[in-house]
């Protein structure tokens, strides 16, 4: 169960004991924060802190709760997630369409979504990569946080049913449809230097500059350009930690649908991903459909896919956040 809401204070350190003041037995050894001390030149024996008996009990209680959360987050939630959307599935009725846009290859686009509205991003050619930034319309200091998004959901991979989180523990977007599940949260977008290294001295556009421009047109600036999430970028991490690009995971006509869960400012950059091995700079247009997806019901996939998502949506609904809708 949850730990009592008690702030940690530095004064808790007075309860620490030095290793050499404890009568040790093998059985009493802390199971984890316990190492052989005295690596030569690094740490002298007798100076390493170990927990008191009471602290050990607290440590074990916290560990047990963490293991339960992990089992739920990595076991149940992924099983609850559906298969990807079929490329000919989830048609949008014309009456639901609010606006359409085609973003030329290499360009960016900005828009504002109200809570409940959605964007469909269509990879018309199958060759494109679209990078996303987003900020709360009401308070742009609240913004997309790729790290919280993947950490909270125990998954670096995004797919249908996942949510994209702000830095304030709230849901910015629900991924209500997604045909590919091939998106990058780790490696970011291109910049002038990565383009030059890959393509040589040819005229190119890049995601870093696109985001500076997009932020500027939304009344924001360079300080507001943070790490992004890139759709249609099939990046994975191999067993040695190296990035891999799995070209076979993308197809012409792939799309992803993002439903705004608060009012948001959106910037999209349509530039080749820096890990895309294609040797020629030839960005293709992508299509965007701004539409009204209909209200999320009580059994809505994204709102129920995991305990973490449920809690994030509780934060969205919290009365204390009302002004920041």
């Amino acid at each position: 169960m949850a730990r009592p809401s008690r702030a940690i204070s530095k004064s808790s350190r007075v309860a620490f004991q030095r290793r050499d003041s404890i009568i040790r037995s093998g059985r009493d050894d802390p199971p984890n924060k316990e190492h052989a001390p005295g690596r030569p030149g690094n740490c002298l024996k007798g100076q390493v802190m170990v927990p008191t008996t009471e602290q050990r009990a607290e440590i074990e209680a916290n560990r047990k709760r963490y293991e339960e959360l992990k089992a739920a987050g990595q076991g149940q939630a992924p099983r609850a997630l559906p298969e990807p959307t079929m490329r000919d599935g989830a048609p949008i009725s014309e009456s639901a369409v609010l606006a359409r846009e085609t973003i030329p290859g290499g360009w960016y686009w900005t828009t504002r979504l109200e809570q409940g509205e959605a964007l469909r991003i269509v990879n018309r050619s199958g060759q494109s990569c679209v990078s996303l930034l987003a900020w709360s319309s009401v308070d742009p200091s609240e913004r997309l946080n790729h790290a919280d998004t993947i950490k909270v959901q125990w998954a670096a991979s995004l797919r249908k049913g996942r949510v994209i989180l702000s830095d304030m523990g709230r849901v910015l977007f629900s991924m209500i449809e997604d045909t590919s599940g091939a998106h990058d949260t780790l490696a970011g977008g291109s910049n002038a230097a990565t383009n030059k290294a890959r393509f040589g001295n040819v005229a190119t556009r890049n995601t870093r500059d696109n985001f500076i421009l997009a932020a500027g047109k939304l009344g924001l600036d360079r300080r507001d350009v943070m790490p992004c999430i890139s759709f249609f970028a099939p990046v994975s991490v191999d067993a040695e930690g190296r990035f891999a690009w799995d070209a076979g995971r993308g197809t012409a006509g792939d799309f992803v649908d993002l439903r705004a869960e608060i009012d948001v400012l959106v910037a999209l950059s349509n530039c080749p991903h820096p890990l895309d091995p294609a040797a020629i700079y030839a960005p293709q247009p992508v299509d965007v459909v701004h539409y009204a997806p209909g209200p999320a019901g009580a059994t809505d996939l994204c709102r129920n896919a995991s305990a973490e998502a449920i809690r994030a949506f509780e934060n969205n609904a919290s009365l204390s956040n009302r002004a920041a809708r």
Binding site: R39, D148, V152, A155
Partner: protein, 213 residues
């Protein structure tokens, strides 16, 4: 205790302990080396860098990983800014495994990860906000950070888990600055996952200037 293995002839610019759960900041000048010591083992050290004469140029975890083509930080990693420039180079690492994809803990994300009852626990972002404010920076400037000594394996299907740290007492990482940088540290107070062995402890920071030639 670690200064004895600082290269002979080096000039110690600063040598201090950062208390458990606490923030810290200092300038590291071009050519100086910062050593961060996990004095008691299994202690995550959340770290951000800003270019000292242009604080809008700052650490970028995504650019750092993309530049090296792999997902973790160790010796040989170049620490890259949002402008694509090398800010520091990791020149020594006795631990071998550091994260930069999991970001910092915050009161808000803790509620989502661990339950609403964890909202009023101290968190790294609280430390970063307090320390950043001393330099005229705000939440807008706090971007996802480096997590030294934090073990976050990413598997080929994308599972992403904070697991037990592998750092031992006295393990350290050293970075040599390629430009003057402001270094912000939060000595991570998280007690809801294994990044600190559920037991936050003090760390040591040494900044030194290696002997000429």
């Amino acid at each position: 205790m670690t200064t004895q293995s600082i290269p002979s002839g080096a000039r110690i610019v600063l040598d201090c302990e950062i208390a458990a759960n606490s923030p810290w900041s200092a300038i590291v000048r071009q050519g100086q080396t910062i050593r961060i010591v996990d004095s008691h083992g299994q202690q995550a050290v959340d770290t951000l860098f800003y270019r000292a004469d242009d604080l809008q140029e700052r650490y970028s975890g995504q650019d750092t990983l993309r530049a090296q083509g792999s997902a973790y930080i160790s010796t040989g990693s170049d620490i890259v800014s949002n402008e694509g420039r090398v800010m520091l180079r990791v020149v020594a690492d006795t631990c071998g495994l550091h994260d930069t994809s999991a970001g910092a803990c915050s009161c808000e994300s803790n509620t989502v990860r661990f339950g609403h009852a964890t909202k009023y626990l101290h968190a790294c972002r609280e430390n970063f906000l307090i320390e950043a404010a001393k330099h005229g920076l705000s939440k807008r400037d706090i971007v996802p950070n480096l997590n030294f000594f934090m073990n976050v394996p990413i598997d080929p299907v994308g599972n992403f888990t904070v697991v037990d740290g592998v750092s031992k007492p006295g393990d350290y990482v050293e970075l040599t600055a390629e430009m003057d940088v402001l270094c912000l540290i939060s000595n991570c107070p998280q007690i809801n996952n294994p990044c600190n062995g559920f037991f936050p402890t003090p760390i040591q920071v040494v900044i030194y200037q290696a002997a000429e030639g």
